[in-house]
């Protein structure tokens, strides 16, 4: 662009100019002036065009940098991999060591419980490991599977459900096998419990935890206060029974939960639930009048009411170092049907209350008290073998756990279990629970 010859001439001219002026040759001067003027104009034009071009180049370069940056942002925000569509997989590894002063012939005196209940076997055991696979199915559905791997090498399908994510009016429909929304603890997986075991009332009335094959419809109210109402129908797989092979459903439940905040440090939730289920051949361990170990079988109608409440506190809502959680539930069950071969009816209740205190970032301690009320039981003609003892079982438990991160936990639990009349079982549990894979998010 720049012509060196022209440049030289211009520079030379600039220096020569004073000399030329001295020469005072007006004609020559005029000529020179004209030439200079011409050159000046030509250079000004060139410089101007150069400036414009420079500006254009700068703009383009800036745009390129911007594009590059936004590309980098895109790339960093969305890592791509061939397995990017794989669902979230989480594995919970759990193991327990148990030391108990009594044998494992567990039953709850006076309560026809059913299901896999009790403190489990002594010494080392695998505990319950869980494998969970969850993901959005598409823009309408979310689905998941949770397998429970039991110490006896059996695999159980704890949950396998799909649920809607895009229904209007705050509605959610869930289908498949899932933990019922009744009560507070019922929906929570074992690895989120604050103790090694579930409350006695859950063991006595819900076979530890009630999960069923069925449908659930929930409605979340459009209010500032949390209000959720739900209804479920199912086949009635309560307490390890198969559920009924018949048209329609054998279990119905209704529940409502309300919740909210009090200031920035407190939050709460309370609920009321009702479950009606018709178990068939629900087997429960018991001791008969002659102190012989027997297995009873119940077929009939079972109605359970649950009232639950939980309150949580953390200074400014920051639970990193300090928090308190207090929860309690009351369960009432009335049953009518046949036990073994004769008529049976019962109206019984139970409750528990527990508090968890987190006193350091990695440490928590908790205390729980369980109580069951024998209520009224009519054994009918079974009275010959089964006596109404009017015994009220109870249990007190204390635990301390250490959580090096949100993915690992080691726990010590001491319990004094008086589920059996005249027998006190002093229990020591040491448990670990580790979570691998996808980052879990815990329910309230």
């Amino acid at each position: 662009m720049f012509k060196p010859k022209l440049m030289v001439r211009a520079v030379a001219l600039t220096f020569l100019l004073p000399l030329a002026a001295q020469a005072n040759d007006s004609e020559e001067m005029e000529k020179l002036r004209a030439e200079l003027q011409e050159m000046k104009q030509s250079y000004e034009g060139r410089i101007k065009s150069l400036e414009t071009r420079l500006q254009q180049t700068e703009t383009v370069a800036g745009d390129a940098a911007k594009t590059a940056e936004s590309a980098a942002v895109q790339a960093s925000a969305r890592p791509t991999a061939s397995n990017a569509f794989n669902p979230d997989i989480s594995l919970i590894l759990s193991g327990t060591y148990a030391n108990r002063s009594q044998d494992s012939d567990y039953h709850i005196t006076g309560f026809q419980a059913g299901g896999e209940i009790g403190p489990g076997s002594r010494s080392f055991s695998l505990g319950e490991s869980e494998l969970g696979v969850y993901a959005n199915v598409d823009h309408y559905f979310y689905g998941g599977l949770n397998l429970a791997l039991a110490p006896d090498n059996s695999v159980g399908v704890e949950e396998a459900f799909i649920q809607t994510t895009a229904l209007p009016y705050g509605l959610t429909l869930k289908a498949g096998r899932f933990f019922s929304g009744i009560g507070y603890l019922n929906e929570q997986h074992a690895h989120t419990w604050d103790f090694v075991d579930n409350p006695l009332a859950y063991q006595a009335f819900l076979g530890n935890q009630y999960g069923d094959d069925g449908l659930q419809l929930k409605w979340l109210a459009p209010t500032d206060i949390f209000l959720e109402v739900g209804a479920e129908v199912g086949r009635g797989r309560i307490a390890d029974t198969e559920g009924r092979d018949k048209n329609g459903s054998s279990a119905t439940s209704l529940f409502a939960h309300v919740g909210g905040d009090v200031g920035v440090s407190n939050s709460w939730r309370a609920g009321l639930s009702y479950l009606q289920v018709s178990p068939e051949n629900r087997e429960s361990n018991d001791l008969d009048a002659s102190n012989t170990f027997v297995t009873n079988s119940f077929t009939g109608k079972s109605k359970v009411w649950i009232a639950d409440a939980v309150w949580k506190w953390a200074p400014n809502g920051n639970g990193t170092n300090t928090s308190v959680k207090v929860q309690g539930e009351y369960l009432h069950r009335s049953e009518d049907g046949t036990l073994n071969t004769d008529d049976y009816s019962a109206s019984q209740s139970g409750w528990y209350v527990q508090g968890v205190y987190k006193f350091l970032q990695e440490w928590r301690t908790a205390l729980r008290y369980d109580h069951l009320d024998a209520g009224t039981v009519n054994y009918g003609l079974n009275t010959a073998g089964l006596a109404d003892t009017n015994y009220n079982p109870q249990r007190i438990s204390w635990m301390l756990d250490y959580n090096p991160s949100e993915f690992s936990r080691v726990r010590l639990q001491l319990s004094r279990d008086e589920s059996r009349q005249g027998v006190t079982d002093n229990q020591v549990f040491i448990q670990y629970q580790m979570s691998l894979g996808a980052h879990g998010a815990h329910k309230y």
Binding site: E69, A72, V73, Q74, S76, A77, R78, P79, N136, H139, Y142, Q163, T164, T165, A166, L167, P168, G170, L171, T172, L220, A221, P222, T223, D224, I225, F226, L227, E228, H257, V258, G259, G260, D261, V264, S267, W268, R269, K312, A314, N316, G317, N318, G319, T320, N321, Q361, E362, P404, S405, E406, F407, H439, G440, A441, H442, K443, Y444
Partner: protein
């Protein structure tokens, strides 16, 4: 029957009241995005901020009140980069608000609009609480606020098309004021360039990148892991050969580890607001950075 009608009419009334209130409901996961939404949306938005500056956003209780707020939200404004992974997914599944699902205009993740720092080259939980998408504490660099502000204004205009020009005008005004303020902060903070600091949690890479601060140690042995006494003494030893001007923590962090180091190493412990509401003075985004720069300058004296 009469009661039934009463209840139904009550619900209809509630719904009608909701419909009458036409402003856009914004659910902001963190105070900085709540403040930004207010700056950009003015009286056209109702902003609910789910957390406060004294809470650790990695660990938030999935409270029932948050479910109710999510249900009625039109726009979810969060940091993303898995900062909220421990609580937001479970809330979203309970609220089941179709407008807020990933990929919908109602789901806004600030981390998508800025250049992420500290993207881990390997993912292993043994390295502590690492975020695959990069360090999520992007709000400590005002240049990021500017970028997110532009994107959020666009998003508001997309969701509430009737008021699109309103949001664009407000953003133009905000962006101008923000550029001026940034120039001021950068001039004020010039002496901080190259200053050596110790941080409690790895929460400040963006601030360091902006002001040219030099982070030489962290009090947490690994991100999210509580400082141990052995690690603290290692840091103290390191400071003897490589001195730092101050030790920095966020308002929500426990003050014990940085106080300990402050006393032993005779350097000031500086609590930064970290987000809006993190100090008396940090009432909005502007005063957040006024206060942050001031506290750093005081610490470096």
């Amino acid at each position: 029957m009469k009661k039934c009608i009463q209840i139904i009419s009550l619900f209809l009334l509630i719904m009608a009241a909701q419909a009458a209130n036409a402003a856009i409901n914004v659910f902001a996961c963190e105070p900085e995005w709540g403040a930004l939404a207010k700056d950009l949306g003015g009286d056209k938005v109702n902003v609910f901020t789910a957390t406060n500056a004294l809470q650790d956003v990695h660990h938030i209780e999935a409270k029932p009140s948050l479910v109710s707020q999510l249900r009625k939200a039109d726009l979810l404004a969060c940091t993303g980069s898995e900062l909220e992974i421990g609580w937001l997914p479970v809330l979203m599944r309970q609220a089941n608000n179709a407008k807020l699902q990933a990929g919908k205009p109602g789901n806004f993740e600030a981390a998508h609009y800025v250049k992420m720092l500290e993207i881990p080259s390997r993912l292993d939980r043994a390295d502590g609480d690492v975020h695959p998408g990069g360090n999520p504490h992007i709000q400590t660099d005002p240049r990021n606020i500017a970028k997110v502000g532009e994107a959020l204004a666009q998003r508001l205009a997309e969701i509430d098309a009737a008021n699109a020009t309103f949001y664009q005008d407000r953003h133009k005004d905000f962006a101008q004021r923000w550029q001026l303020a940034m120039k001021r902060w950068e001039t004020q903070a010039a002496p901080l360039k190259g200053v050596a600091i110790v941080v409690q949690h790895k929460g400040f890479p963006y601030l360091e990148d902006w002001l040219g601060l030099n982070e030489i140690a962290t009090l947490e042995p690994k991100p999210g892991v509580e400082p141990t006494s052995s690690h603290l003494s290692e840091v103290l030893t390191q400071l003897q050969s490589q001195p730092a001007k101050m030790v920095i923590r966020a308002a929500y962090n426990s003050d014990r580890p940085s106080q300990w180091l402050s006393e032993k190493a005779k350097i000031p412990a500086v609590a930064l607001p970290f987000t809006v509401g993190g100090s008396e003075r940090a009432k909005d985004l502007f005063s957040l950075f006024d206060d942050t720069v001031q506290r750093l300058l005081d610490g470096a004296k």
